[in-house]
Amino acid sequence: MGEFKVHRVRFFDYMPTAIRAMAFNAHTERLALGRMDGSVEIFNFADRYFQEKVIPGKDSRSIEALCWVGGRLFSAGLNGEITEYDLENLRPKYSLEAYGGPIWTITSNSQGAHLAIGCEDGTVKLFEVLEESIQFERNLDRQKGRIISLSWHPSGTQIAAGMMDMIRVFDVPTGELKTAMLLVDRGFGGSKSRETVVWSVVFLSDYTIISGDSAGKVQVWDGHTGTLVKTHLVTKWDVLALSDESSVVVGTSEGTVIQFQFIAPTLQQQQDKEWVRTRTFKNHTHDVRALAEIETAIVSGGMDTQLVVRPLLEKFDERSHASALRKIQFPHRNLVFCAKKAGLLLFQFPGQLELWRLGESDGHVLFLCDICLQGEDHICCSALSSCGGWLAYSTMSSVRLYRLQTDNNDISISKVPKLPKILRSAHQLCFSSDSSKLFAASSQSSVLVIALSQSECKYVHTLKPKSGQQPIHLMTNSVDGKWLATANSDCEIHVYNVQKLKLHCIVPVYGSCPSAMGIHPTTNNLTMVHADQQIFEYSIVEKQYTDWSRKLQKQGLHNLWLDRDTPVTHVTFNPKNPEQILLHDMHMFCIIDQSLPLPDQKTQFYNQMTLRSLSEQERPSHLHAFKICKTFQDLLSVSLLDDQSLVMVERPLLAITCQLPAPVRQKKFAT
């Protein structure tokens, strides 16, 4: 495998924020996820739950609910605004004040023509969805008390609203309150004096209303008569989220997800079905704040910041990667940047950047500085040049470039004052290896080339692809400074000749989004790893896949490799040994040695332990190309410095859990 000196870095205090809202678009198979800090993430469920896009948050923005209308994404929050997002430029398109105080919920009808929002002042406001914007239409009958949750009847003629202590049903065409008025009784014992919050309602097509409230009850109501059909007491604490498809899923503040199914009491006659509590999943330690039930799985997220995809096993015929439980804890992009020559580390937080210098073998590290942002926008990307002389970051509204001068332990940071006007914001930033150029990914997959020098920085050119609308999420350049490769969410990979400033070629589009790529320093082969774990190697010079890549595709990757559940987020090369490609995902670090035979399905894949037990003579016959090391867990970044030492940035999940607020106290048996 080769021997490396390892810097094991555990001082990156990365802390994801809690999940607040979720909306699944069954048509495009995209899940929109809203976090507490106002950021929105888009996951592509068709492509191994890959995190395609991240819209950075803003201090003043809060998200209480998300809602898809067709391909458009809306959010509403306690700041009283409705926001539509521009998913191509990864920014809010516009925000609209609803004039109803804080907004608790937003939901669209099944026709996609109207949005309904529930406001603090007790109004349900209807907005008409227009081509480019939305327009306020009218208020429904105003009620006393806030509207916490809303649900449209699938026909669009009625809407159920969950309020304090009650549920009301409105007739949408007239805007009047229907006679049905359901009083939700309060909890037992001491909580009797407190109001019950109906956190969630679901209006089913058979006019059944299902509600979840803060007294821990899930109640089934008849929407015609407004009578209570059934009460399920599921928890001592709050029932926070509901979601329905063929079954109803309930999330509670103790971290459990409970499934209710509509089951006939007897096997033969299928008429008198009842909602029966069936399965309980406990994958969260904290409140489950958001839920989505997709066709084959239950997706849940909450205070413990992780997104859990729990497949429903009866929907699968056989065990595969799709039927395995999946937890998404880390973002599928880089937050750590490493200056290979200077030995500097840059950590990106939403509101600040931290710069560290790696020490010698004695493990001494030095905190150099942190750069805090002014303004309320969060950082969307940053970059550090490999010489350690330049640092750049971008927010939604501006790009900042800094000149770093390190002198032993002192550092001086000077902001480059005048940046070209065209450089307004960037989705990705990248310095050329000789630090003479800065590449900034801009709108419509274009790349701005900025020449850097001591005195000034100058706009050089805009590299534009022939086609492409989606934002660039990956960018890499070659060591010799000749090639630049970009990848966007449409899975297109463009290779530009930086010297000639023109598009060199387009790599054949593969169906899955690339999650990491790198250009080999000597051969200039582009190695790409996709979200579905496939690996390709493309010769930029010859404009075709390399023989090794063809061989790999012909033979196929090992099943154990394909079944891994986190994408590879980083590809680097070993300059000393050009045969080696270094990859890592969250749970493992891998060196692919292209000189060794590829493993077939019968080979023992994770063979490091076996190799260690074998004698020197036997070893070569058992070697294969994939050398996997699982010593390091919860990896955020792996990079190889020029002095052949590896930097492993770990963020133990336990440390994240420790920083979370205390969960709801539960009596555990035998404690």
Binding site: Q261, I263, P265, T266, L267, R277, T278
Partner: protein, 828 residues
Amino acid sequence: MVAHAEIRVVHLSGSKINFREPVITNDSRFLLCASGESVKVYSSSSEECVHDLQGHTDLVSGIVRNPSNHLQVYSCSADGTVRLWDFTDGILIKTFIIGYPIYSIYVSENHGGVVFVVVPMANDKSSELFQLVAVHLPLSGDQEVEARELSAVLCDVSPSGAASFGRKGEYIAAVKGLQLEVFFFKKQKSHRFFLKSGNKKGAKNAFTCVSCHPKEDCIATGHEDGKIRLWRNFNQKKEYTYSTLHWHHGAVNTLQFTPEGTNLLSGGIESVLVQWHYTQENQKDFLPRLGGAITHIAVSPDGSLFCTSHSDNKITIIQSCVKVSAIIQGLVKGEGVRTDLTIDPRSKALVLNGKPGHLQFYSLHRDKLLYNLDIVQQEYIHEEGLDQFEVVKAAFDTRGDWLATVEERTQKGSELEINLKLWVYDEQTQSFMLNTTVIAPHEDQITAMCFSPSPETTMLVTISFDGHFKAWLLADHSDTKEGASWSCDFVGGYHHLKPGCCCFSADGSLLAVGFQEVVTVWSPSWELLTTLSQPPGAIRDLCFGRLSCSKYLLGTSTKNQLCCWNLLTCSLEWSTPVDVSLLQADPLSENMAAFCSQSGCSDLFVFKPGEPRPLYSQKALCTGKVQRAVFAPRDQMLESCEEHAQWLNRSQLYFFTQHMDLMTFSTKTEEDRLLASSKRLMVDDSVAVTPFYLLLGKHRQHQEALTNPMAERIQLPQGSIAIKELLYTPAHVLPSASFLCSMFVRSLLISSSSASEEKEPVEEEMESEEEDSEGEAELRDARQDLGGSAAWGPGEELGAPALTKAQERELRRVKHFDHSWLSSVLEC
């Protein structure tokens, strides 16, 4: 051995009543449970045993209500028969012979005429695999019917209590290991559901029990790790679903839905009955502190009464899940009997350790627990791994005034704690009161103790591994107010050897203590009179002979020796090389019983010390070693004339087998008397003897002579006669009214002359005797034809006809007498 066949080894009393699920009758008045080889009918309100349904010849392994008649129950047994009983009158209605040992029985009202039984896989009788088969019960008027129409339903089921019928009997669910199997009768198709063994997170998914909802299609299963799963949509291979309930921390032993399906009852080791509200699973009610791990739950058909069986051989009857209304307690048998079996001289009850820290007084004659005496008087904590005080020895003096108990506690890393307690019988409270507690009477375990039988002194001798024996005397402290208390009088030893056993002679004039290989004999003034030794081997048991044999002392050694010393000559009278594991003397006669273990089996020899030939011997009494034995005096003497059975006349020998079954010996005369007494009870119970009764009886006598042997056989097991049958048999089992009518009318024609009347009975009697013997012979033939298992003890079966004869003769005599009275009435 043929001669000995009349003495049978039986489960007479003290058998397990928690072996299988009890059954509550439709009107909730009676509770039926399997108890050894019989089915006991208890009154659910008074806890009294009303009937003892006897007839099976092996362990009864299941009882179910007859779904088509609420006054009948089916019972099944390892003897390969299913019997139909009328439990209100205690009558055996029918016997269905299946031919394979049966382990469980299930019925459903939607499967008329079919019972489902669990039998071993047909190909291999000794295998551990069992199958559920449906047995079509043939419709035949005969008493004994062979039911050979078997059809397999499920293969590989667990032998006991792990199957349940679903709604309207449409399917049956059975669990075993990690598999739930549901068989749909309509489609003749079964669905199997598997769980993972689930080793992680302490999950143990193996199924333990199953119960089906009576109204909805929902199956509840209990699991090793205490979870309960409710399965729904189980007619689909993949879309099935289940929800999980979890309260029990140990395995769920049993589950039962209430008849309307509104509640689910579960029980386990926690001794808490949990009542789950169906569809409101978060709400549950508890009935805690039931006193022992719950093994079975039964619910009355109207749902008003629950009963739970417990691991300490107890059945608790619970009214509407809130109130324990009755407790039926059997003999408590833990893992072992620490104390020896003793007989309380006052109550003649069997005394042994029962509940933790208690002594139980169990009446063998009434088969009932009399009371528990709390010896340790400390709270028992139900938790594994705790060392708590246990009663290890108990002894009574001859009059039953004093009881001595020893309790000990061994703790790892600390010294042994021993307490000797002496209890005095208090006439006023009719119970034992603590008189003296001696803390640490010896420095090591007390191996044996006995009271001196001499009437002058009240003395107790304890011997211990510390090398000493101590004599304790009741000293009267009349000066203090405390009254009499016990104190140590003498400490003796012999060459620092460890004593193992001790025995007083019948008059209390000699004390023999066995010090390893040496037997020392002491006088009451504590002089060492003599030592006897017969090496090699340490002395295991010592026994003085009684009555005419009181000059003998018997001892057994670990090296396969049974020695008999003559105390007059102080020499060895005789010795034989047998490995006697237990030697027991009958306090009422000269007899001694020696249990020998040989090649995995136990043999019994009963002998008199002075005679060379054993009175009785039985080879292969039971498998394994006999743990404990005791001679229990009978309340009534038997007048058995057979030589080999005479030793059982005064006392009965009870013993514990390896599996903690209490067995005893029963003789033919005893069984006769038992049945006779039950019959007498019936007659006593009856309403006044009416002329009608007698007339019909008279007629029946005539009929009897004419009826075929088959009809004769009907009467055999109950030993009933025609009148009784007519009056006692419920209407639904009687022959048709037309048949009875003609009989009755004919009987009214009393035109026969008084002269012929004199002779007729004699003829009749002879005839009927012939018939009887014929019937008996045929019965025996039938048995052989069936090729029934070798375990069939013919004793009881053959005993019954003889009794019937004798009894009938007696009754006839009575009837003749009465008839004359009747005629006088008629004349008037």
